[in-house]
């Protein structure tokens, strides 16, 4: 028995380290390979997590509200003359003492905004929503609906970006103040909250979840939202009024 055992041991022993020999592998190479694999996996994990958290500041708002102008002021303290954007503008806001913050100016034209919002929604960290204070009355519905769509976008909603509503064009005589604008927007959003919950389901993708915002039985207010919504007044024509917004943006980085 002992003999047989010993023999069995002998038979086994030379075979045990044979895992590497059998496949003609160098154990060192295998270990280094495994380690490298783990490192890359870790890197990918970190990278995607960073992505998913989002790092970009988006500048949104309806057409001709002054987004590109604001973009120029914010990034380069330079006053730009601008036309309707047919493409997004990208840049980096250099924050003193921190890494620069990527900024994207999303075109406000109806045909483009959806596309670019879809493109950048995964990277969103904060949103500057630009409102034309002087023509708010005329554009209220579009302005409110766009903001509503941004907020209720399922992906953006889960990311809870900080939102700064910029009441632009304060230099014009008919410009409304931020309180008025906030109230008007809240009123309109309340309506939209009602109508959107009643819209028909789309036929193509039935799994789209609807985001319900606000609190039941109460008028909609921005403070009901899970994300922080602030308002500020400024005019992108003059760089002096930009300070509060700039401070806010620095706080993001």
């Amino acid at each position: 028995m002992d003999r047989a055992d010993a023999q069995a041991q002998k038979m086994k022993n030379p075979e045990e380290p044979d895992f590497f020999q059998k496949y003609n592998l160098d154990p060192q190479a295998v270990y280094t390979g495994v380690i490298f694999g783990l490192i890359t996996l870790a890197l990918i994990f970190v990278f995607t997590r960073k992505r998913s958290r989002g790092s970009t500041l988006l500048i949104c708002g309806p057409c001709e509200s002054g987004k590109t102008c604001l973009f120029g002021q914010l990034l380069h303290k330079k006053q730009l003359e601008t036309y309707t954007s047919a493409k997004e503008n990208k840049g980096h806001l250099s924050v003193p003492g921190r890494a620069p913050l990527p900024v994207v100016d999303v075109p406000g034209h109806e045909r483009l905004r959806v596309k670019y919002l879809e493109e950048y929604k995964n990277q969103v960290k904060a949103i500057i929503y630009v409102v034309d204070s002087s023509t708010l009355q005329k554009q209220l519905r579009d302005t409110a609906e766009y903001l509503f769509n941004i907020i209720t976008n399922p992906i953006i909603y889960t990311k809870r970006p900080k939102i700064m509503v910029v009441c632009n064009k304060q230099d014009l005589s008919l410009a409304k103040g931020q309180n008025v604008i906030q109230k008007e927007l809240e009123k309109e959003m309340e309506l939209l909250r009602g109508t959107h919950s009643r819209t028909l389901q789309e036929t193509n993708d039935q799994n789209v979840e609807r985001v319900e915002i606000g609190q039941d039985g109460e008028e909609f207010q921005f403070r009901h939202l899970p994300m922080k919504v602030e308002f500020c007044e400024l005019s992108a024509q003059s760089s002096e009024t930009m300070d509060s917004l700039r401070k806010w943006a620095y706080g993001l980085a």
């Binding site: 001709e64 590109t68 120029g72 990034l75 380069h76 330079k78 730009l80 003359e81 601008t82 036309y83 309707t84 954007s85 047919a86 493409k87 997004e88 503008n89 100016d105 075109p107 034209h109 109806e110 045909r111 483009l112 959806v114 596309k115 519905r141 609906e145 309506l191 939209l192 009602g194 109508t195 959107h196 009643r198 819209t199 028909l200």
Partner: protein, 561 residues
């Protein structure tokens, strides 16, 4: 004159602009911004870019050029009344110079650099303007030479086609050569004349003869200029073929040898019956013909070379960058394929052609990525364009609109139109159900006064819908009502009455059902147009079948009316 020139990025940032009309009409300047905005919205965002690259708004006209490599737009504005012919050239020149000057800045797409291009622009503008003037002055002569060269080629070609063509031609050329060598201009003139005569004879039509001669005359005159031949001796020859003998004699005197050989009458006969007589020095002359023609070609080529020199510079620059920018030639086959594909997928051909044109315009000059093929790039671009086009310009939130209309104390009007049998009435009933679920009062206007049973069908729908939400639930008021006036009446009138009825009875929504009609039935379409013009519905729903091409055509035609 040029009123306005600006360079801006597709992102809408103005890089540099020139305001020409500033001092004259200060107010004019204010027109340009909205004009450019309108241009961007229609041309760039709706893929309406056409090949001639112009856009008109009001009294202004804009000419543009897209630089797809750096996403720039060059745009020149002028009064529509005063078209500028050198604009194309100016745009090209400015584009090249601007790119040259700011290549590094543009590569980083740093649009916040301060672009001071004015001096350069003024210089270029002057250059191009002068060039335009010059070319205008030169135009006549240049045009002639060009025409002439082609025509002379033709005549040579016709000669070559004949059996003895080459020999004959070579002979003539040879004589030309000899003549020039000997400094005997007159003889060469003779030869030319011979050639002409030969042509006419070959035509064998006396009536045509004169015409041909005239043509030939026109054609030849520049050549004569080139070689320093005297025109005066030449012209009368052509017009009065017979009377030229006297002069000819003189010519003969001047150049005895050649003249003796090429005496007019002899030559005519020779040309007619013995074309072989021109075998003299055949081989040498053949070479000379080639030389001659190549001379012409060289001129053209040199012109081309001048044109392409800048292009060459470009290609070298872009080769430095390391990737290749697309040219029209690269794109064309792929675009054609795409176009065919679209058409085969039932997209109306007009639409496909327009779309592809616009896509090609957007792609020209774009730099290919390292790993992308032309095909994929084109496909992606087309995809993007289609996405852009098919994104609706306004979101339709009917309930919100109904509330708005309610606040304004007027009914919200929806009209349904479409081809027969696509389900207008059925969809109307479905939408009606959704509306009453949302607590709106609905009036259905039976404006299909043509098809048998249309009104009865709607009545049935109404009854069913009212059964779902009985009137007793809503204080005795039925949620759905039908407004009908029987058959054979004017649909527009019925719709108008229905809307008034709805206003008086505080009904929220009016659904107008129209008779089905084919989009190419002119009188019926006009009736629909009238209905829509009279009642101005808030929403016109086009009910269509899901066959893209047919629908596009239908929708377009319906849209037109």
């Amino acid at each position: 004159m040029l009123d306005f020139f600006s360079v801006f990025s597709r992102g809408g940032i103005l890089l540099w602009c020139f305001k020409g009309a500033e001092d004259i009409f200060a107010s004019d300047w204010a027109q340009f911004r909205p004009a450019v905005n309108a241009f961007i919205k229609t041309v760039l965002l709706q893929e309406m870019a056409s090949k001639n690259c112009t856009y008109e708004s009001g009294s202004l006209a804009l000419k543009y050029k897209l630089d797809n490599e750096f996403d720039l737009v060059f745009i020149a504005g002028y009064q529509k009344m005063l078209p500028l012919y050198y604009l194309d050239k100016l745009l090209d020149e400015i584009q090249l110079r601007f790119r040259d000057k700011y290549l590094n800045v543009l590569k980083e797409s740093n649009f916040f650099h301060s672009f001071d291009f004015s001096a350069e622009f003024q210089r270029t503008l002057k250059l191009v303007e002068n060039d335009a003037k010059h070319s205008e002055n030169r135009r006549k002569t240049e045009m002639r030479t060009f025409e002439d060269s082609s025509k002379s080629k033709k005549s040579i070609a016709s000669m070559i086609e004949k059996k003895d063509g080459p020999g004959r031609g070579s002979h003539k050329r040879g004589e030309d050569q000899e003549a020039t060598a000997n400094g005997l201009n007159s003889s060469s003139v003779d030869d030319n004349k011979n050639e002409l005569d030969e042509e006419t004879r070959m035509a064998n039509l006396s009536a045509l003869q004169k015409k041909l001669v005239k043509k030939g005359n026109k054609a030849k005159s520049p050549k004569a200029d080139k070689k320093g031949k005297t025109k005066t001796t030449w012209d009368p020859f052509m017009f009065g073929g017979k009377g030229a003998t006297g002069e000819e004699a003189r010519n003969l005197e001047r150049g005895p040898k050649e003249g003796a050989h090429g005496g007019i009458n002899d030559d005519h006969q020779m040309a007619q019956f013995v074309p072989d007589s021109s075998v003299i020095g055949a081989s040498a002359t053949i070479q000379q013909i080639e030389e001659d023609s190549s001379d012409d070609d060289e001129e053209l080529l040199s012109r081309k070379a001048n044109d392409t020199q800048s292009g060459g510079l470009w290609s070298s620059l872009s080769s430095l960058v390391g990737s290749k920018s697309l040219t029209e030639k690269d794109i064309e086959p792929v675009i054609v394929k795409m176009q065919d594909h679209l058409i085969s997928k039932n997209v109306a051909s007009d639409v496909a052609v327009k779309l592809c044109e616009s896509v090609a315009n957007n792609l020209e000059g774009k730099v290919l990525g390292t790993f992308s093929t032309i095909h994929r790039t084109v496909k992606e671009s087309l995809n993007g364009s289609l996405m852009k086009l098919l994104t609706p310009k306004r979101r339709i939130d009917i309930i919100r609109d109904v509330m708005e209309a309610k606040a304004n104390k007027r009914p919200y009007v929806m009209a349904f139109c479409g081809v027969n049998g696509v389900g207008k009435s059925t969809n109307l009933a479905k939408i009606c159900f959704w509306l009453i679920e949302n607590k709106c009062r609905v009036l259905i206007a039976a404006c299909d006064t043509f098809r048998a049973g249309a009104v009865e069908q709607l009545r049935t729908h109404t009854r069913r819908l009212n059964n779902l939400h009985p009137a007793s639930e809503n204080g005795g008021v039925p949620l759905v009502e039908l407004y009908e006036k029987g058959y054979g009446k004017d649909a527009a009138g019925i719709a108008l009455e229905a809307i008034n009825y709805a206003r008086n009875n505080r009904i929220d929504v009016v659904l107008v059902d129209t008779a089905g009609r084919m989009q190419d039935n002119e009188p019926l379409m006009r009736a629909l147009a009238k209905l829509i013009a009279v009642n101005a519905p808030d929403l016109v729903l086009f009910v269509g079948k899901l066959v893209v091409s047919v629908m596009l055509d239908e929708a377009r035609r319906h849209g037109q009316d």
